[in-house]
Symmetry: C2
């Protein structure tokens, strides 16, 4: 299966790292995309060379991952709206974390599915009347509703878990074992 | 402060992501380096464009981070040994995770400091008689002993915590609060 990660500069690398490596670990293909096929910086100062720009993005990936960062409120984000909407409408898994989850609210994709985001009050201010999904908001690390996955920015592992399940990327037991291994750690630290 | 991340293809992006973004978040500079200044793939299929190769790596970074991956048992890893040894000898923070921690054992740097790694039995087989530190091995997610930090590959957050503390990258309370925020999550999931 092919999964495409959409990254705007600067992107939050910790939000993408677990999911991308789990996908390849389970035998799937990962492609990175940005507005153009030109280097993109992460928030931590890593420079990504995306596999493609918006004009040559794979036609029908099984999953489209919107990685958080500090540009989802910019004009650049507007350019990806048609792509995201097409993926959603044709039933691909669309998974968005942190400000990218809020972005989905600004284009009306959180009005009919259960979802979460970083901060509900902020989303309501940001999206205005395009967001009418408040009764479907859940205060959780990550929420999966069919093909839509959303998460807050501290939920890299839960975002990966729910997205892997939405994609049916491996047997459910294998996915949950992978999550627990990383969540608890090989040597769980003593409690607080 | 300048911190240099050393990455061999393919590198484990989840092991670097939290630490790099926390460092820049606390106002420090991050540089990425590989054997050459040429694209390097991550295990999850992201392509990194390193800031420098071994020949133009910053002269005296305050920290040298060895990110795990699947090439620390290859000939390429041998090329970084002088660099790692120089950083260690001059008292820079040297932090290594997953197979990169084991690599430190193969060059004799785990014989006088408390440390951990993925698997002690594997390290003993791999390093042979160059590793004489078994009495200093601790079965923990991450171990900090002065300027040396080691961690297993499921310990991305604990590795970041101990490395930030070793670097004195911010007031200790701020570092621990950052760790707890990501470890527990903004909305901690219900227990098992």
């Amino acid at each position: 299966m092919l999964v495409c990660f959409l990254l705007l500069q600067p992107y939050a690398e910790w939000e993408a790292a677990y999911l991308a490596s789990a996908l390849t670990g389970f035998g799937h293909q990962v492609r990175t995309a940005s507005l153009r096929r030109a280097p993109v910086r992460s928030m931590g100062g890593f420079t990504l060379l995306p596999d493609c720009g918006l004009e040559d993005i794979p036609d029908r990936p099984e999953g489209l991952i919107l990685v958080g960062g500090q540009s989802w409120r910019s004009g650049g984000a507007k350019l990806v709206e048609p792509l995201v909407r097409r993926a959603f409408d044709r039933g691909a898994v669309v998974a968005a974390i942190c400000d990218a989850a809020g972005f989905l609210g600004t284009i009306g994709l959180l009005n009919q599915r259960r979802h979460t985001c970083n901060d509900l009050a902020d989303l309501k201010r940001w999206a205005g009347e395009r967001y009418m999904g408040e009764t479907l908001f859940l205060p959780r690390q990550a929420v999966r509703d069919g093909t839509l996955v959303t998460a807050n920015g501290t939920a890299a592992l839960e975002f990966a878990l729910e997205t892997l399940l939405a994609l049916d990327a491996a047997p459910e037991g294998d996915i949950r074992a992978w999550y627990q291994f990383h969540k608890l750690g090989a040597v769980p630290p003593p409690g607080p």
